[in-house]
């Protein structure tokens, strides 16, 4: 797509066999980098984005003109200090920020793939991004870091490439997508597919956009990123620019107006089919499946030092699921730290300015970096 012509990308020639059975090659992978790679190439960090993130983790996103999604955590002097580390972030395949995705043109039909795009998995995403290490000639990453779906990619990465990262920080994630989370994702997908403009996924060739469906999907998902206490504190029953109820279905309450706004801005930057494909990838994620239900086995060959972080009010990827990863690592004597950060900001906490969280990341990285020097 032309709006992506100035962004960085590599074309990956090497065929990638996807979990669904199809093989892709010559596909684009869009990325961004922050900081400088040092002389012995030992300061590289690969960060993985969440469902609606992209490669523009910090600074101003050139497409949306908004702050990058991890601006609080990533940048000069910040928790992931770009004065020190060389950070690579890629847009996942299936995404809509320049990497191979459902809105790309299918060279055979000369039309956007739409729902003819292959179903991809977290494993596929990670395997595609692995090519960036070859591109940058990095033999070993200093760290792999990500929250939410990004955390799932961290776990998958270490499992697939057990000795390619010295440290790993999976944040607010899970090793196996829960029934509740599959249900919530399905709600979002059904909302998109119920929009008449979705057209079985071939909306682009008809110049239509399932904006309503995508906005409702985002609104529902947005609630799951917050906590009850956080919502109550921020909005309570406050009314939106009115003195009393209007006895209508207008957005009387501030929370309604807020959600509508979140939905409306989301459709400007995100593709509905990408939303379907990426949520599907999350639902299919179960790192234990290949290992007969034993998560420890996924990490058996790895020497990566882990630090796992969860948040008290995160009910989407609760502490218990993060702790399961800690338990699996401890069970095989791997090096792992774990902290549950106090926050009433829900799952979204990992994107926000939560000092204890940011400090935890910073100290873990800096201490580990000192040890390798």
């Amino acid at each position: 797509m032309s709006k992506f012509k100035d962004i960085k990308k590599i074309i990956i020639e090497k065929p990638l066999k996807l979990d669904c059975g199809q093989t892709i090659n010559n596909y684009p992978l869009a990325y961004e980098t922050y900081g400088k790679l040092n002389g012995n190439r030992s300061n590289a960090i690969l960060i993985f984005h969440a469902l609606t993130g992209d490669q523009f983790a910090s600074g101003i996103n050139p497409i949306t003109k908004k702050d990058g999604w991890w601006s609080y955590a990533l940048g000069p002097g910040k928790a992931i200090d770009t004065d020190k580390y060389f950070v690579i972030a890629a847009n996942v395949i299936g995404g809509c920020m320049g990497s191979f995705g459902p809105s790309d043109i299918n060279p055979e039909s000369k039309k956007p793939y739409g729902t003819n795009f292959p179903v991809i998995t977290i494993n596929d995403m990670v395997n595609a991004q692995y090519n960036l290490l070859e591109y940058f000639k990095i033999e070993k990453l200093f760290s792999v870091i990500g929250g939410s779906m990004g955390g799932m990619q961290v776990l998958q990465f270490v499992s697939n490439f057990p000795n390619m990262a010295l440290t790993a920080i999976p944040i607010a994630c899970t090793a196996s997508h829960s029934a509740q989370n599959i249900a919530l994702n399905e709600l979002g997908r059904q909302s998109i597919m119920a929009d008449r403009n979705w057209q079985d996924g071939f909306y682009e060739e008809q110049n239509k956009q399932p904006d309503k469906g995508l906005a409702v999907a985002r609104m529902a998902a947005h609630i799951t990123y917050l906590s009850k206490a956080g919502l109550q504190e921020k909005f309570g029953r406050k009314l939106q620019e009115r003195d009393d109820l209007k006895f209508s279905f207008d957005a009387d309450f501030q929370i309604e107006s807020y959600l509508r706004y979140q939905g409306s801005v989301f459709v400007d930057r995100f593709d509905a089919n990408s939303y379907l494909y990426i949520t599907r990838a999350m639902d299919y994620f179960d790192l234990t499946k290949k290992f007969g239900g034993n998560l420890s086995k996924a990490f058996e060959k790895s020497d990566t030092k882990f630090f796992i972080i969860s948040f008290t009010s995160d009910w989407l990827y609760p502490t218990s699921e993060n702790r399961d990863i800690v338990i699996a690592l401890n069970a095989i004597g791997k090096n792992v730290g774990f902290v549950e950060i106090s926050s009433d900001k829900g799952h979204d906490s990992f994107l926000l300015d939560i000092p204890d969280f940011l400090k935890t990341v910073k100290y873990f990285l800096n201490t580990s970096y000192k040890q390798i020097k």
């Binding site: 004597g333 090096n335 792992v336 774990f338 902290v339 204890d356 400090k359 100290y363 201490t367």
Partner: protein, 184 residues
């Protein structure tokens, strides 16, 4: 740093694999990291203490020793340290068993209820002893299972736990603290 911590650290072999159970603000872990072994981790319950460990750059697992020790495989650490918290667990016997399962050796310290000041306090005042090592009143003490050095020795003998002891009688009277290396 507390004198107790120097004494505990002295018992840890160079470059061994260590777990500090109830590691508090990480003071002992930091000392061991810098002087004896980098391969050390802690478990701590209190969120504020966990943050203090994080700020010291230590590897800490937020958790509850009473529940979380079971996730470690047998003999996965050369030393497991438990400093002055045994008496605060609901089930200290279970914790001791876990320490000796997870660690090849366990270093355990206990506040000694047999110290002469404690004995004198109870004898003369007739109230529950409050000393430097036992600063709380009976109604707010976290210490559920107080014992003396002698009690602890008797327990280890009964359970076939190897315990290093010298001049026990003397220590039971004059030490405010007992520090032991245990082995199953």
């Amino acid at each position: 740093m507390k004198k107790e911590f120097y004494n505990i650290a002295k018992l840890v072999t160079q470059n061994s694999k260590v777990l500090d159970v109830g590691c508090g603000n990480g003071e002992l872990m930091k000392y061991i990291t810098e002087n004896i072994s980098k391969d050390i981790r802690g478990i701590e319950l209190s969120k504020s203490n966990v943050q203090k460990c994080v700020e010291k750059g230590l590897t800490v697992i937020e958790g509850n020793a009473e529940k979380d020790l079971k996730q470690f495989p047998d003999g996965s650490f050369d030393f497991v340290i438990l400093s002055q918290t045994l008496q605060a667990f609901l089930n200290p016997e279970n914790v001791l068993n876990e320490l000796l399962r997870v660690g090849k050796k366990a270093i355990v310290s206990i506040p000694n209820f047999g110290h002469w000041k404690v004995r004198l306090h109870l004898l003369l005042k007739g109230t529950m002893p409050v000393t430097k090592n036992l600063p709380n009143e009976w109604y707010n003490t976290p210490n559920l299972h107080m014992c003396t050095i002698k009690d602890f020795e008797n327990y280890c003998k009964k359970r076939d736990i190897k315990i290093n002891l010298k001049n026990l009688k003397f220590h039971n009277f004059f030490s405010e603290l007992g520090i032991f290396v245990l082995e199953k």
